[in-house]
Assembly symmetry: C3
């Protein structure tokens, strides 16, 4: 998430009422979760195990719970509770606003687009031209939809990421303030759910077609011309490259990359990166021919064991 | 389900127009399905195989299709079709009422709660304070939601339990007249479905966090501070104890208990009780390390068999 | 899809502006996808591999990209791009029409049926008597619902089939212009999605009961008195015969027939026809007892291998 203008380190520190290390006027352009930080961003870290990762990330301002040595060209915000202060900051810059009407007055809808009854379009949503948004679709604030996009009934775009931190008193939620970005010529089936990025974007690439009841979690990036069949679940922070085909009921865990042109057979469970151009099957998924060989072997076991006995 | 006042056995018998065994003024406080009966309840039974279970249950009034010996301190309602008469009784006391507006005039919403557009809130629903109910959520009659609860778009609370009896002419449905009860600080993702109890409650405990497209069936009780990932399906009459973690696309059959602190890996299928504090994997699920050992063994089979051949 | 009246071959050719082979007045009654063609129908074919299938199908008019020999009693429409021209034709006869109100003025709802708030009922939809349509249900144009049907909240009936053809520039969609037909006494849970037929019908038979979050794809026909548990996914063009029971999270691929009375255990993956009256389990599904035997064998492997070593 980028701010609407550049803030000074002093301004940010005063919003949070915390001490800081760095020049008063050190520039702060935005804030992001560690996966998607850029120069000018604030990142937060509250566990010594991850201090180095945060301090060495692209982020130039680190919201941290210990006054460590400040890396060259960076600044620190010293907080007793970086997680909570990060939330306070995102709520300050992007507060949740209730909407009283089906289509927010700050949303825009392009020429030739059809919005069917009972669709909710939140604040600052942008919808391109020649789209069809079918009934009972919900589009949360700040989502961006391209041209010639079709979204079927009951689908939800931009719900909060499932991102919780275990604390002694229970789970604390990291606010979701990112977006869902749908590129041109995408079609999304009925009853799908696509979460917004926690601070960045969840993206569906040009010409990708998604069947019904597909779940796509926060910050996942799906390439162009992919085909995703019904009831597939894709966890957060994944990269699905172009022209990937995923058959029904497949599950993909978080933080993996699925190479270009990969095909994943139905009901597979993917727990690691998959190499471009290959075909996978099984839970956990391996190359399909390997899985088929294993299955054939298991089926032949009774006879094999019979033989061995003799 | 408890009645709004105590009825006499004679009153109930006259609603159903059936004979009875017991004192005219024998007190009747409510009616419940066999899993959740208490003293003062009516229970029904229509198969000799289950007579004893019903007669020995906590229920003090038994709606039964044979005039059996009445246990001490209990009463009988003699019916040709206890299943249908039980439905007639629940329809009498808790009839389905259409609602003409998005938010029923008999629903209550606490201070600071935000109800987004296109939300349906049925009759007698109670929502606490500081909740956010996102667009296109449907909350059926009589559901109860605590404070600081977030429910994402398109989610359905309180749909009927999937409870049918096979009869010669087809499936007969047992009316669902229970509730969904959501405790404080729960968050429920988008596109979830949580059925009401058939006569009792389906409960989601304090601080539990549920991801998108999760299905929870009738009468299941979920403990405090559980984490349930996307596309999990939990069948009816289950007990999920506190601090259980269930990863994506897991399925859990009905009538099992998942012990405190259990972790279930993605795509597992659970068919039996799981012991507290352990980690499970596979379909059917077993202890994860056992499953991993089995998987490693199967993968090593080709080489092993090669060796044996030699 | 049948047209509202009989057209002449010349009329159809002039709509598409293409040459034709056959009598000017050759009768054209409708248009259908190859799976469901009848006499009087137009079928399209654009790959030489499938020419014979199309020419020998029940369809009497073939929209084709080469002037082949015209079979006796049939006619040809010669098109440079049969796929696109088929879409142009279906859009001509059944254009998508936006609806400005929740319940289209051309929809009909029978006596005693209850339509809850926020339900969308599209153009020309027919709903029988004594139905309950719960909140936030979306019913697309032309769907047909019988009597005594219950549809739970958030369910979508009649979304487009997931039917795309890969072309050099990306995926082209075959327009969905068929219907969903729900027979009497069916109950459908919350959050289900049932796609319309591409040109024909997706049908749910008399008395069938469907749990929450079930996905049924285009042109699938489900028999009478089936029981389908939660989160089942059934692909397109399937035939599920009467009295089939499918447990939770099962997936069924397209173009298979599930015989009468079959039972499929939870989380199975079905990739082929299943024989009537049998019980199946596993992914891929085989007869349950066979699967149980295989599972027992795999579990006993460590001990067996130990023995062999000795």
């Amino acid at each position: 998430m980028k701010f609407s203008r550049t803030y000074s380190l002093r301004e940010i520190a005063s919003i949070l009422d915390v001490p800081y290390v760095g020049d008063d006027n050190f520039p702060v352009e935005g804030m992001n979760e560690i996966h998607v930080v850029e120069s000018g961003d604030i990142v937060f870290v509250d566990h010594p195990k991850y201090y180095n990762k945060a301090l060495e990330s692209a982020a130039t301002i680190v919201l941290i719970n210990k006054e460590v040595d400040c890396p060259e060209g960076k600044a620190l915000l010293i907080s007793k509770d970086p997680f909570t202060d990060f939330n306070r900051l995102s709520s300050h810059f992007k507060p949740f606003r209730a909407t009283n009407v089906n289509i927010s007055p700050t949303a825009s809808v392009g020429e030739g687009s059809i919005i069917q009854p009972n669709v909710f379009i939140g604040n600052h949503v942008k919808i391109g031209s020649n789209c069809i948004i079918h009934p009972n679709v919900s589009i949360y604030d700040h989502c961006v939809i391209g041209n010639n996009v079709i979204i079927h009934a009951g689908t939800v775009l931009g719900s909060d990421g499932f991102y919780f931190q275990k604390r002694p008193h229970g789970f604390d939620k990291l606010n979701s303030v990112g977006r869902v970005v749908i590129e041109d010529h995408v079609e999304i089936g009925a009853g799908c759910t696509i979460d917004k990025g926690v601070t960045g974007d969840t993206t569906i690439g040009w010409g990708t077609k998604i069947d019904n009841q597909v779940q796509i979690a926060h910050d996942t990036i799906i390439g162009k011309k992919c085909l995703i069949a019904s009831q597939v679940g894709i966890a957060g922070c994944n990269v699905i490259e172009d022209e990937v085909t995923i058959w029904g009921q497949v599950g993909i865990k978080s933080d993996v990359t699925i190479g270009k042109g990969v095909e994943i057979y139905a009901q597979s469970g993917v727990g690691m990166d998959l190499e471009p151009g290959k075909t996978y099957f099984g839970s956990p998924a391996v190359e399909a021919r390997e899985k088929f060989r294993e299955m054939a072997l298991v089926r032949s076991l009774p006879k094999l064991l019979e033989k061995i006995k003799k």
